[in-house]
Each structure stands twice: as C-alpha cells, then as structure tokens.
Amino acid sequence: MIPAGFSYVRAGSVQEALAELSRHGGAARLLAGGHSLLPAMKLRRAEPGVLVDIGRLRELSYVRLDGDQVAVGALTSHRTLERDPVVAEQVPLLAAAARRIGDPQVRNRGTIGGSLAHADPAADLAAAVLALDGVLVAHGPSGVREIPAGEFFTGPRQSALAADELLTEIRLPAAAGLAHAFEKFSRRALDWAVVGVAVQSRPGGRTAVALIGMGPTPLRAVAVEEALAAGTPAAEARSLAARGCEPPDNAVASSSYRAHLAEVLVGRALAL
C-alpha cells in the first residue's frame, strides 16, 4: 500500500514547523516517527496534502528532572523511555508502559508526542500519562499553553490540540519510590491493548487508575479511585472498573468481555 501523494517539508525548528502548519491550514500534518500516521495514510484514513517532518528536531528529544517534575520532550522515542535512568527512577510507570508498546522496531521509531497526539483510545502511554496526572505543553501561533492530560483526549483519535499546534513537552509529577503497575491484554504479541490499565500511587496514599480500550478515549476509573480513597479493599474496588465506561463492542472484543478484562486487570494492577 502506498499513501496518496503529498508535499513534504522538513522543519528545522519548532518555529519553522509552526509556520508551515499556519501556511497550509488544516491540510498539513506533523510527521514524527510516523508509526501512527503512515499506516493511516496507507489506508486512506488520513490524506494530508502536506507532511511537515519534525523527526529531526533533536531539541525535542530529552528527559529532564525539573524540580519535582519530569519533563519529557515530545520526540522522545519509546525506546528511550524504556531505558532512560531518570524515567526509571522518577516515573517508572512510563517505562513500564513504553516497554509494552508494539515491538522493538516500533519502539525504535515511535515517539511519546506522536502517540499522545494520535490519541488512540488504546494507546499504552496515554494510560500512564493520565495516571501520572501529566500536563501536555503545546506551542501554537499565539504562544504556549498547558493542557492537563485529563482534558487532552476528546474522542477516538481526537485531542484538544488545534491543527496549528505542536505538542512539545509532557510534564509529569515525579513519583520516585511510589508503587505503580501497568497491565494489558492483547490478542497477539505486538498488538494494541484490548484493555489496559495503569495504576500510580500518590503521596498521601491516593491511587490513580487509568484505563485504555474501555471507551472513546483513554480514561480514569473514577469509581475505583473513589472506592480506594474511601478505604474499600482493592479486591472489592476492582469490581467497579467498568463503572461509567462505554467500552467498544467490535470484532476485537465485545463490550462485556472488555468490562470483564478491566476488572481482572485492575485487580492484578492493584495487587501491585
């Protein structure tokens, strides 16, 4: 399969990328690792007239400890997240999720910003960023804004990013030494999650629980979180995993099967 024709521009800086996006209006798409966009273009699910390649913007590939936050550049690859010592110590949940994405070749090319901007409801990193209460930093023509992860995902493969904005950084509260877990179930070795769950303990004893594959967007299992906060044992709280969710019902899995999986996986993750 070959994508439909398009023009190709390689951006040399964030400013250049933003200028290209503004120039072409909604016709342009950003190309990072390409592992979500290029398959979609082959299937004609995306037919951008212009691709603005930001893959060479090395300045967007970094992991930094910044006070009590970890700043991750949007072009940081999944491979880097798996191995980075700051991620391993400060936000190990992110490494645990990155390790479960696709396969080694995909993790070599895929980027955290690309994955989040693609906003697939079953994306592993989305669960981790949601459970960590991350903040996404977007650059646009009128400046920089910060979008809390909980407000970022607006629908299946839809995000709060405007067509002329570029996601540049993900900021995560450091969680060194706090319990975490990432569980997912897939049909084949390299598949997307049918259902996945990310759990992150917080200072003060609160626990965040995020689900993927359980609705039109990655989401927080609010009922489980509230039950845990009220002192309900994890073994009981897990039964609330699908409460308020509208899991998809499709060829991959029925919604009732997904609801069952969510309970099982939340139970496993909470066993920590």
Binding site: M1, I2, Y8, G34
Partner: protein, 160 residues
C-alpha cells in the same frame, strides 16, 4: 494528486546513493525498486510482520513504515549488507545451521532483527530472544528453530 519530487541521499550497505523520489515513496520500495535490493521483503505492509526490517543508522526499523525522505542523510543496512553466499554473518550462518527457516520469506527480517538484538545484547536469554523478535512473524517454523538459530549465532560471533 500532488506530485512533488525530493532528493534523497541515502547510504545503503556502505554505498552512497542519490536519487530524486516522490515524498510518498516508502523506504522498502526505495531499496527494492529503486536500488534493486530485493533481499528486504514486503510482507504485511502494515508494520506488523517485520519482513521489511532493516537497520537505519544502526537501529532496526520496519522499512514499510518509513518514508525514503525520512531516511535522507542516513545509513541503511539490509540483509545484503550482512554477508553473501561467500561469507555469511554469524546470524545468517546460525539460520543455516539450525534450520531457522522453511519458506524463507520472513528470514531477511528475522536476520536483521536478530542482528540488532545481538548488537545490544551479545548473550541474550531465550526470553530476551523471543522479546527481541516480537516484531517478526514466521508462518512456518513455530519459532523454536529461529530462537535456536539466534542462540547459535550468539555463541559463534554474534552480531558481526
């Protein structure tokens, strides 16, 4: 349809190549159709099966999901760059010794992924081999002899 041409300079197996290509040309087609290096296979074409795996600046990638334009200025190694009939690489020889293939379609990708694995982990455990080959599918062997082939290579020269 918008047709536009970009010039790419890509070093493949040590040989520099400069070509004008359509932006939508995939790296795998650049290798196979433009350079006639047909060792790299197109399998699923959806970045699942791994038959198209090559090294891009030393890192294993699925070349059906990389534009030739993205590889501009980069160095690519294909299965032809590892060794030929007169001098197989240890991984290639391992597949021969341990019967790591039947039809052979997945083999170039398996060999490249295994070479990438051994570059990073010269002495992998069986589980590490299986994890390292997670992005490569074989419909013939059931994988056991592929794992044995990689173990043979690890014991006989590694990623060389």
């Amino acid at each position: 349809m918008r047709v536009e041409i970009v010039r790419v300079e890509i070093t493949v197996n040590g040989q520099p190549h400069s070509r004008e290509v359509e932006p939508r040309l995939l790296l795998v087609h650049f290798l196979r159709d433009t350079l006639s290096l047909t060792g790299t296979h197109v399998g699923c074409d959806t970045s699942s099966c791994g038959a198209c795996t090559v090294m891009l600046d030393g890192v294993a990638v699925k070349s059906c999901t990389v534009l030739a334009a993205q590889a501009d200025g980069c160095s690519v190694t294909t299965v032809e760059g590892l060794g030929g009939p007169d001098g197989l690489s240890p991984v290639q020889e391992g597949f021969r010794q341990c019967h790591g293939l039947q039809c052979g379609f997945c083999t170039p990708g398996m060999v490249m992924a295994a070479t990438a694995l051994l570059t990073e982990r010269p002495d992998p455990s069986e589980q590490e081999i299986r994890d390292g080959l997670k992005g490569n599918m074989c419909r013939c062997t059931g994988y056991q002899m592929i794992v044995e082939s990689v173990q043979w290579a690890a014991a006989n020269g590694g990623a060389r």
